[in-house]
């Protein structure tokens, strides 16, 4: 009886996720005339695509690392502070999303432009600006899971560690960090994957000089209208999603590091 309740979910899963995946796979594995080919997949290894993928990996890795380095201490601070009332934190980090994504990223462009208020940094139209945009747009996806994992840590565990003579750094390394792993893992995937595949951020902040794999895919679908190649490259992107899912499955079985 209860199982019937999952029917609409399964329908959406099928129609909204699995069938579309199948369609992408179909396009990705055929050429314009409809004949089977794996060329669209192998195309990722050719010079220009590989270069773009390499740059994407590098930049999204940097963005993820920076997000992690920013979010972890933030989680520690918020865990203790009175501000750490749950609703309020979620509120601070979700609120910017009510200002439209395209506009928010455009605002960074305005700030960083040569004659803009932050123009002296000289980072506009460089990979650095793109990383900044990624960190800005996806930081909430790192902060919230880490924060959520941290506030779930039982304070008596920490007290016990101190009572047993642990130093601050030991408590941090041996108690808090291991217990935050589910949050870290889900935060890392939630930042890494969208950074890896973005095209809007690199377009707006990279000045057209930073060519990521997302830009190539987008171009295949919009300007060049080679849907087969675009689909093939998208399929390659999905490898990274599968890897992320495997990580989550391993470290965050119970969904403890969810962002909410």
């Amino acid at each position: 009886m209860k199982r019937l309740l999952s029917a609409p979910f399964i329908i959406f899963l099928l129609a909204g996720t699995l069938i579309p995946m199948g369609v992408i796979a179909y396009y990705g594995l055929t050429d314009r005339s409809g004949a089977f080919t794996i060329e669209n997949i192998l195309a990722v290894g050719t010079g220009d695509h590989a270069k773009a993928l390499g740059l994407s990996l590098l930049l999204s890795f940097a963005a993820t690392l920076i997000c992690l380095l920013l979010a972890f201490p933030l989680g520690l601070i918020l865990k203790d502070s009175k501000l750490g009332k749950k609703g309020f934190m979620v509120f601070i980090f979700i609120l910017p999303m009510w200002m439209n994504f395209v506009l928010r990223t455009m605002a960074w462009q305005v700030l960083l432009e040569k004659n803009g208020p932050l123009g002296f940094l000289g980072i506009i139209n460089t990979p650095v600006a793109v990383v900044l945009g990624m960190v800005y747009d996806y930081l909430p996806f790192m902060v919230l899971p880490i924060y959520n994992a941290m506030i779930k840590i039982d304070n008596s565990l920490i007290e016990a560690a101190y009572d047993l003579g642990a130093s601050k750094s030991t408590v941090l390394m041996k108690v808090i960090t291991p217990l935050t792993v589910p949050g870290i893992v889900s935060g890392v995937t939630m930042v890494f994957v969208p950074s890896l595949t973005t095209f809007a951020i690199s377009n707006m902040l990279g000045g057209g000089k930073v060519n990521l794999i997302g830009n190539i895919i987008e171009q295949e679908f919009t300007t060049t209208s080679n849907w087969n190649l675009g689909s093939g490259l998208s399929l390659v992107m999905m490898i990274f999603i599968v890897i992320s899912m495997a990580f989550i499955e391993k470290f965050d079985k119970n969904g403890e590091g969810s962002m909410i």
Binding site: T17, D48, L103, L111, G116
Partner: protein, 648 residues
Amino acid sequence: MKNTSFGLNKLIKVLYLIVIVLFLYLPIGTLMVLSFNSSKSMTSWQGFSLKWYKEMFTNDELMEALGNTLTIALWASIIATVIGVMACIAMSAMTDRKRSIFMGLNNIPLLNADIVTGISIMMSFLLFGISLNYGTVLFAHVTFCIPYVILSVMPKFKQLENHTYEAALDLGASPLYAFFKVVLPDIMPGIVSGFLLSFTMSVDDFVITHFTRGAGINTLSTLIYSQLKIGVRPTLFALSTVIFVIVLLVLVVSNFLKGDEEEEARKAAKSGKEYVYKGGMSTKKTLAIILAIVVAMAVAIRFTPSTPGEVGEKGVVYVYNFGDYIDPELVDAFYEETGYTVVCDYFDTNEEMYPVVKNNTADYDVICASDYMIDKLIKEDLLMELEFTKIPNIQFLSQNIRDFMEDFDPGMFYSAPHTWGTYGIIYNKELVDEADFAGDVSWGILWDKKYAGKVIMPNSIREADMVAAKLLGYSMNTTDENEMKAITDKLIEQKPLVYSYANDNARDLMIGDNASMAVITSGDVLYAQEDNENLAYVVPKEGTEVWTDCWAVPKSCKNYDGAMAWIDFMYSYDAAVANFEYLTYAIPNTQLEDYEYEDYIEGPRVLSEIEIVNPPEDVLARCETLQNLGPEGDDMYSKYWKEFKSQR
């Protein structure tokens, strides 16, 4: 009790928090400031003004996009919440193994790149012959909202004490009653946060909407994106500011309400009385307030009569055009003059319009398309011939444009030009060596090391290639492999000197003195000069691209006479003037030659004297039109473009 906190110095902690919050809210503050800028430019401040706030309320398109954004978000999050909660109930009864499979599948849309989700859903719809419309956007939004609901509700189920539910059943409650009275209150906070998160994600989404929306369905995100062709209008900043402030107020107020409740609980605890837990009242309150506001806004927008309120007796003409590419007031004027009601739909690029017309997914009567696309549409037999006897005003079409039309519509059977222009170099007189621009200018100036880091090039394949091709003396429509290689090498050579590759915002960057020169289309020049009088325009001696955007009638047309009337109306004096003043793009209409334009630099002048709008014969003689090269040609250009782009 020992201090369990991780004691860094308190000051450092506070500073750190402040820095992070500043980082998060700096761009938002910037947009708010820009919404009060009296200039259209994003890069230069020209005084305080409230005009964008006024314009916001009178802009029907904007209000419609806002309405769509809110109703889609509302429906998507309601549907996703119901489905998600039902799924959670079902999953809580499953074995661990089965549940983890479902949770894994549930993660896919969350982890999947937006672009892949959007494209895959779009392709599925098209494959199954479902045309894109409001419903497809809603479907896609429900799809990506469900995971958020499940992720926030599922943990609550795990914390649930199962025996309270069983106890209720033992005491004779029906399963449904027990669910609503025992389970629901406990999972309510999860439902509320899932709902709010869904709503926020739906409002914020751009990529997925971009790919799954049908013609004429705009949300705020896609409206902004479609305005990039002409330049984002600050009304959007104003609207975003208003939305942001409303949400901020709601959340702050509800946070206060929550505070009161906790206070109450603490007092009750102190006085020894038992505090009756109100089952997540505060979150319910938040939700209620937000819902009420959203519904009120959506309803207000839906029922605001848009003019003209009723369909004219002669029926509706469906116009499919680039975003913001006519003076919006002409729609009403056309209705008053002819009795036809006009419904406008928008696209951003020719490439986006093409599949819609080809697959006939919507029945448009008139479309606007660029020269090379007209050529493609004619060759694929997708256009109807125009009956020029029904377009008497076509007599005002300028002769030089008729000549250019030979390249894409020989004999002029299928199209009637709307706007036209050339590509050239806009430069800032203060930021360049005047001697360089004294005589004939070559495209080669863009390769001059003196201007390293001060040059803006187009960020589109054909236009960037055109610049290099002209410099090398090739045709801009070359399909010769060796010439393509040379063009690509030339562009790669230039790359270190380029400030940015930009289409939409090149004009804005020039207004804000961010670069010395940019490749730009002539139509943008008058607009830019309005805000920066140091700007000037030149067409290089090697020649350039001349482009024409034309009206045409697709085979799907249902109201042919209406379509003819629309095109005829566009050639009337009043419409031509209105379009010119609104767009500052050249309108190929001989009646405009004597029109006196308030030139921002030189004062009032008649249009025929403004070379930017009306290039002299010798300039036009050096121009070439862009041609459709077919799939093989497109693939070759794309291949070399990628090679150029991936060079660092």
